[in-house]
Symmetry: C2
Subunit: 332 residues, 2 copies
């Protein structure tokens, strides 16, 4: 198995990316190799040890900036790390690709070059949010902003398989994000998707979810369009960060001694909430393995993303997606 | 001025509602009266003091339950508190109505009986979320789940006027909820609404917002469709509650002494986050004043809702909405 990693993507590239890859190398199972894509002049000086045993470096003269238009960037930057990885994955030279770079460019490149799995209408990004009750997988969080009902149904199917196989949740409870539990609540998209999901025997469908259900332990999988999912994801990040900051400030104002005692507790809670533990979000539905990491990924997140890519392959997630979508199509 | 209050709506009705009203009575400005709608047998025993000086009680034999279909309930329960309040507001007997009951029924009844202000396409519920940087007004949070661009534009206009006049924010920064700051990001609805908002001289439009911007102090007004707004609102409630619980649990596990010291700090932060301080959400755009309170409202929330209704009237919010929408229509 060959895992491509984008050395140039993310807020802390290439330093943290290369560091994460070097940490991952000694832990790789037999037969797994890393192919690192990046600017040789910047990346090579960061490499150390006997990295050449398990890794090759592919020089790319370009990379895609966070604020570029994905369509233009992919058209013009043919030697960018993201484009090159997607091309090679499409040609079968890579089994998985990992990037903390431009999400839109990564989605577009993988969709274009790797194509979709049989039966998949649109791919969805599945983010695993750590909650007080365990991980909750939300799909989609930004790949498809305007969905059809079939997309929401397939996001639930694919995310359920991912949660089962990669997160080891036996029978993930799947819900449809809406604005009330009753059937009649929600918009037209949600009402139609609900009908599809209700009759799917492979789904452990628990009905509509509301915003508060993300954090109350009622479910493990949420499906929504990429617009709503993206708002949820960023709101969660912003609120959690803001709350911790406020609490820290209030405690420090109270007493520095109290703040000192409180610090290890905060660290413990943060670590339970740590995105990097879940190693990036898979783009479910592409014919291959595409792991999209948070822009602020550090070396641990990259190391974990590589682990997730390997697990994804070992657990035959894509084969299972093809089978369940075929069953679902035959049943309807 | 006559303010109608629904004694039967909300999780803690009629007890907390009546308590809140009784607390409000001595604080009412000259010329303001309360009209309390509810089941006489339940409400009258809760009344005390010389309430009859500033309040009348209107007996209603019905009330609308939280899980009823609003359309059916309004059709069948003509003697329900919500229907009766809306009818009297429509007839000019009440200047404002306040309820912590069924939001959907309240929106439908007020829209039907009070009608809309001149120029308003659809009304929007504007919730004020307390953040670490001050109050943020989000409109809509559930009245209109499928919006047209004009709705998002008008929600921003109306919420801006509300924030200026009732929350005393001089030049509220208004943003459009989307999934990235760039013009090209978002769905078709957002892209079209953005064009309308950009060219509106009455708006202090700061562009697109992302989920994280709700809590980072970048803005004071957010416009979005009722589906997205409702998800935001409930997610915020759920996450804040969950985080505080988790922190409390972790601290107690660390040391009970630390937990004891930490408690007043938590109480202080909670009070800054207290929804009841903002006294319910106005339904902006109806020809009258309609204040929708959280289902879990306690007496303070009801007292504050009455205060907000009075402030709304004193500040001529509706007159200002009519004027600005007319200006905007003339300019386009």
């Amino acid at each position: 198995m060959r895992v491509g990693v984008d050395a140039m993507g993310g807020d802390h590239a290439p330093g943290e990316i290369v560091k994460g890859v070097l940490e991952a190398l000694p832990t790789l199972p037999e037969g797994v190799e890393v192919v690192l894509f990046g600017d040789q002049a910047q990346v090579e000086p960061l490499l150390s040890g006997d990295w050449q045993k398990r890794m090759t470096l592919v020089h790319c003269s370009q990379s895609i900036g966070m604020n570029e238009s994905p369509v233009n960037a992919l058209r013009q930057k043919r030697d960018s790390t993201i484009f090159q990885m997607a091309v090679r994955a499409g040609e079968g030279e890579l089994d998985a690709v990992v990037s903390a770079g431009h999400t839109g460019a990564m989605v577009a490149a993988c969709q274009m070059k790797m194509r979709l799995l049989e039966g998949v209408n649109r791919p969805g990004i599945a983010v695993v949010i750590p909650t007080f009750h365990g991980p909750v997988t939300i799909c989609d969080v930004g790949a498809v902003v305007q969905c059809k009902p079939v997309n929401l149904h397939q996001f639930a199917q694919m995310a359920t398989i991912y949660a089962r196989r990669v997160l080891n949740i036996q029978k993930p409870r799947a819900a449809l994000m809406s604005i009330g539990e009753e059937d009649a609540k929600g918009n037209e998209l949600v009402k139609h998707a609900r009908e599809l999901m209700k009759s799917d025997p492979n789904l452990n469908f628990v009905g509509n979810a509301e915003g508060r259900d993300v954090f109350n332990g009622r479910l493990e999988v949420i499906t929504c369009d990429g617009f709503v999912g993206n708002v949820i994801l960023k709101l969660t990040e912003g609120l959690a960060e803001g709350l911790f900051k406020t609490i820290g400030r209030e405690i420090a104002a109270e007493s520095m001694e109290l703040a000192r005692q409180f610090e290890p507790v905060v660290r413990k809670i943060w670590s339970k909430h740590d995105y990097s533990e879940f190693g990036g979000a898979p783009l479910l539905g592409v014919d291959g393995i595409c792991i999209i990491c948070h822009g602020s990924s550090d070396h641990r997140a990259i190391k974990n993303a590589i682990r997730v890519a390997i697990e994804y392959a070992n657990q035959n997630v894509n084969q299972r997606i093809i089978e369940e979508l075929a069953q679902s199509a035959a049943g309807s």
